[in-house]
Amino acid sequence: MSSAQLEIQLIASLVAIACAIPGTFLVLRKMAMISDAISHSILPGIVVGFFITQDLNSPLLIVLAALTGVITVVLVEQIQKTGLVKEDTAIGLVFPALFSIGVIMIAKNANDVHLDVDAVLLGELAFAPFDRLLISGVDVGPKSLWIIGIILLITIGLLFAFFKELKLSTFDAGLAASLGFSPVAIHYGLMTVSSVTTVGAFDAVGAILVVALMIAPAASAYLLTTDLKKMLFLSMFFGVFSAISGYWVAHWLDASIAGSITTMLGLLFLVVYLFAPSKGLIAVMYREKQQKIEVSLLTFLLHLKNHTEENERHVNHLREHINWQKIRAKTVVDLALKNNMVTIDNHIVSLTKKGDEFTSQAIDYIITNEDAQIEDMKDDFFLFRG
């Protein structure tokens, strides 16, 4: 691995971490779309900054662009406040407008500089290592690495300092306000961090990848954990994983790095969405099927409990009576047998003591909905897990 390769992966990983932190909170606040808006509408900020400074590397560019990001949020909120349109519509109105202003400004005035729309949307990670930061003539590394590194440090510092405030105001803005933690200040703090991160990252990785890095890892992590801290760590891990694997995929396929990373993020989300243990699609489908069987099991047990006469408990009669198809009946009887809830003696099914107790308990639960009694049954049966 050459040092340029290493630097690209390092930059991509730092960008991924810097994006995952605000991204987690954006996802939890159901504000994923706003990162899209910010990433596109900062363009006019950058262009204006460039006109003023005539220098693509001026820090003023970052400040102005971040400011445009925050202005975007304010505009969206003002439009939303009129009550005429919903938030997503407001976002859809604001960012294309600002983005196209940026595009027109570039087309009219800045044709000769390296500011083109493709670069804005896709970035060019491959070139990032060539833009070096020189301090009194000494090469200290790629400029993007420094920019994103500093932004990341600040973000982590803010996260440590204000974790409790962020959590509270994300979960319950009303309580936050009543306790004196201004949710408005926290909201704009988060928007500022998101804007600054977007600006700092997008020169290297482009607007689309910034959005993908903010949302996809957090959305994947959300499906996997019920703990905010774990969600943060998982999103960072997913971001870095996609960044590095995406880099190598691009390397082998000779494709765009940003494009490959975005693809990896999409694949990652797809895998998690399908296979997440409790919230994933397959788990949910399996659970529903299981619940169906368990309801059948309960119906079956209840029937046995209510009928002591032998002819009602004959295997064949049960089949006719409960009116199940052969397969379903077999699944249910097998499940009951496996759990030692019934015994079959000469084609007559009888409840065991365990089966009898289970039935009473389950019926009790269904009627009273009192949780405490069935805590121990939750491990074995889906039906009781809400």
Partner: protein
Amino acid sequence: MSSKIAVQVDDLTVAYNYKPVLWDIDLEIPEGVLMAIVGPNGAGKSTLIKSILGILKPIAGSVSIYGKSYDKQRSLVAYVPQKGSVDWDFPTTALDVVMMGTYGSLGWIKRPGQKEKKAALEALEQVGMLPFKNRQISQLSGGQQQRIFLARALVQDASIYFMDEPFQGVDATTEIAIINILKALRKANKTVIVVHHDLQTVPEYFDWVTFLNVKKIATGPVKDIFNDDNLTKTYGINYKVSIQK
């Protein structure tokens, strides 16, 4: 009940997008009462509480808590929002939600520690939710979620409690458990203000009541003012309620 005024509201008018939903409210809540706020849906009950707690900015009027502005008296006040106002899929546990009640006394930046955790566990115990402390909040039933919110307010150890529909969607057992906790608070000379929808239980649960429907209709002791006249003025229809003394 002493004669001190816990909460005073003067000429309060609150609007959303310039449309007033509360008009010129004057209200004095004496210390140590257990008060119901009643009124139809959309009457502005939640809005009143939010404005008292500084969550909403009124367009006119003022609020004082024991004679001083809310900002100075925050630590005396606890709040239970309407249950539907938060996202119960948020990745956190019952214990963690209750701990949030301690954030106010911690202030900015400082993290909760053992002391806060202990207080939260005690509050969970008080509402009978200790066995569920590590349960993810979406895995709790509606009544359990309501108890968690109550525990979160208890942990604030305040003098005045504002509760927005704490009985919403709870079964009879939980309702009794909650009202007993509220009555215990009143015994400790705390002031408890509860948005309440079940008119039948007002005389049994509360000693003070405020009728609200955009304007304040009446406020005072249940035994004096909880009558058909005020109910009709508030709800617009003749409400037949059996009032038991």
